[in-house]
Symmetry: C2
């Protein structure tokens, strides 16, 4: 039985030889630790020719960017690997392939995606991947439908809810999404110039009520096995391909949380674009981003609806039209969680490259202001924004 120890570069190579499924394991000779995230060690494993062949990822027993003073369960590595395996079962095209994982060591070995690029970085650089949004929508529909009550047997679903109970990682979301941005909190990261705007969120009675309802649904609505952290930094893109990674926040929650997080990150980029490039380029890129928002939702919704019509296994939920009725609730949730994502990425702790890359401070503040205003609008108006066209119109109205 393996016992937890933090991997060295040499350990990672040895582990990849054993579990990487590479034809000549001895050809793997070197590793490079590339973890730029907040939580884990990530080793890229190279062969003798200098080609990277597999990835070895190990969870650390604390939050890496803070240090050992913030301990964090190693069980997240098991959850991440097992969520990706399940999502990979239903959407193999767009889920990173897990080759091996070991819950004791909190290690997984997965396919190397060096030929792809993280979508957020590409969006920041203004590079377009026209197929990505349709593929993301397809991933969301396949992964979420097949783990929902429409498809899973109630016994299996209940067992899976237990298996994917993820208290410590959910706690992070519960705090960072639904509490801190609406409070005076040392971890908040908004520009000082926006103090009045941040204060107005804290005092907005209607907003706080709606955020409470969104948090309550995050706590209690076990609709499907979520990825739990679908943002453009968890998505690799390339020529006609896309791969989801980083599912350690996975648990059974409201479907709109995953979909809303996805849309929210596209909209943050939309808000940031005027600070990232010249006006004409920014305007073009913004149109592409709005198209990404539209296509992500539409491909998710179309596929989800088709799946409910063709593959629902629960007798009651299979009633014609129920898939569409449920999807209307998912849409409302999506708008609300999209709003909380916009706010937690701007007011809260988890700032993103889209904003951080903006060099002009005045412009940066303006972009952040716009993202916060949009987030608030979506949370407040979720029940009155009827469809994707109305959402796009609201975004344009926002400036």
């Amino acid at each position: 039985m393996s016992q937890y120890r933090t991997f060295t570069a040499a350990d990672a190579v040895e582990y990849a030889r054993q579990y990487g499924g590479v034809e000549n394991p001895e050809s793997l000779v070197e590793s490079q630790e590339i973890g730029d995230g907040n939580l884990n060690l990530v080793f890229k494993i190279f062969d003798r020719d200098g080609n990277s062949r597999v990835i070895v990822k190990q969870a650390l027993p604390y939050v890496r960017c803070v240090g050992e003073s913030w301990p964090l369960t190693l069980d997240r590595a098991r959850i991440e690997a097992e969520v990706l395996q399940i999502h990979g079962q239903y959407c193999p095209e767009y889920t990173v392939k897990i080759l091996h994982h070991d819950p004791e060591l909190a290690v997984m070995v997965m396919e190397d995606l060096s030929h792809l690029a993280i979508w957020r970085g590409e969006q920041v650089k203004g590079r377009d991947y026209p197929q990505a949004s349709a593929q993301l929508g397809e991933y969301l529909a396949q992964a979420l439908f097949h783990t929902s009550d429409f498809y899973q047997h109630p016994y299996q679903k209940k067992a899976e809810v237990i298996r994917f109970t993820n208290p410590e990682l959910c706690d992070i979301t519960e705090e960072l999404f639904f509490n801190e941005p609406y409070e005076v909190h040392e971890r908040n990261g908004y520009p000082r110039a926006l103090e009045p705007l941040a204060a107005s969120l804290r005092d907005d009675d209607e907003l706080r009520l709606r955020v409470a309802a969104l948090k309550h649904r995050f706590f209690s609505h076990a609709e499907a096995l979520l990825h739990g952290d679908v943002h453009s930094g968890s998505i690799f893109v390339g020529d006609n391909t896309l791969k989801l990674i980083d599912a350690e926040f996975g648990y059974y929650g409201p479907i709109g949380f995953d979909v809303g997080s996805a849309l929210g990150n596209l909209l943050i980029n939309y808000c940031a674009l005027p600070g990232l490039m010249a006006p004409r380029e920014a305007a073009d890129a913004r149109e592409k981003r709005l198209s990404d928002v539209r296509v992500t939702w539409q491909s998710f919704a179309d596929r989800f609806l088709t799946l409910t019509a063709e593959k629902s296994r629960d007798r009651a939920l299979a009633w014609p039209g129920y898939g569409a009725a449920f999807l209307r609730k998912v849409w409302c949730d999506t708008l609300g969680y999209c709003g909380t994502e916009l706010i937690r990425r701007t007011v809260g702790m988890s700032q993103v490259a889209d904003i951080k890359t903006i060099e002009d401070e005045v412009m940066k503040v303006e972009c952040v202001r716009q993202a916060i205003a949009l987030g608030r609008t979506l949370i407040l108006a979720a029940e009155h924004v009827d469809n994707i066209d109305a959402l796009i119109a609201r975004v344009r109205q926002n400036g």
Copy 2:
């Protein structure tokens, strides 16, 4: 370690001596098996003076009323005892006291309630317990609030959801409430004369969509630790007292399910009363039953609201006004589940004494027809019946 064996009368006495907390255990000398339910052995344990002193209840590994061909998990005994212990922690006045339980033997020892009577039987006989509905509302509020996300720490809540995962008993509810009454099914128990009405439920598109949504919420909305089977046959009443028993269907589900089941059983009695007594008595009893409906909801809602204001521990959910906003959703759920209870108790398998006691066959059919019509109305109109007054008005309109 104890190993499961079916108790004899003598085993029950011996067990009661050991775990009944009676001062002179040797004074317990006799037992009588009084289980009239569908699932369990229930022994009343008497002392030398012929006084019943404690109850020993043991789950059988199959559905008693069907036989060994329908096996059923013994784990329901653990769940029942543990639900009652938790509800008893928050509402000791109105929850039967569990003195001991053993999950291996599927046995619990509990306080004797021979001085009380089952509420359903009393309603059938036209006996009034004016305090019962306020006490039932109080029980529902205390039990459900203290196991909800308002009060429970997220880690504790998630652990409790696991502990009270109850697939086999939930499966019974999922079938009997949400599937069978809306299908041609051999277990359905409606009078043959109502075949056209039953058929019209099966064909009612809007109704089937709403029932699907109610089932989906039963599957996925883990709002609080439910009793799971709050009907007037699970409630003892007496002079100024009331005690909930029989919590084996407990699990984390939508709060409105428990509240709606409670109201639904009062309304079944309301519908049955004209068949149970002379017109003037029936009219009086119906007014009392409507008052019970009103007071049950109102005392539940008032206490729940007070508890959210005074004892909410989650920072976001504690926002002033959120308790009331959530309660509006609970109200809609309550109406819907109340409707499904009316229908599953009339169309479905689980017929009740209120109806079965009616001797006149024509009258019985009329009462059942009224209950089914009311159930359908409540399911369809749940979002348009704004408050308890509107509900009472709808009931009166129904006939």
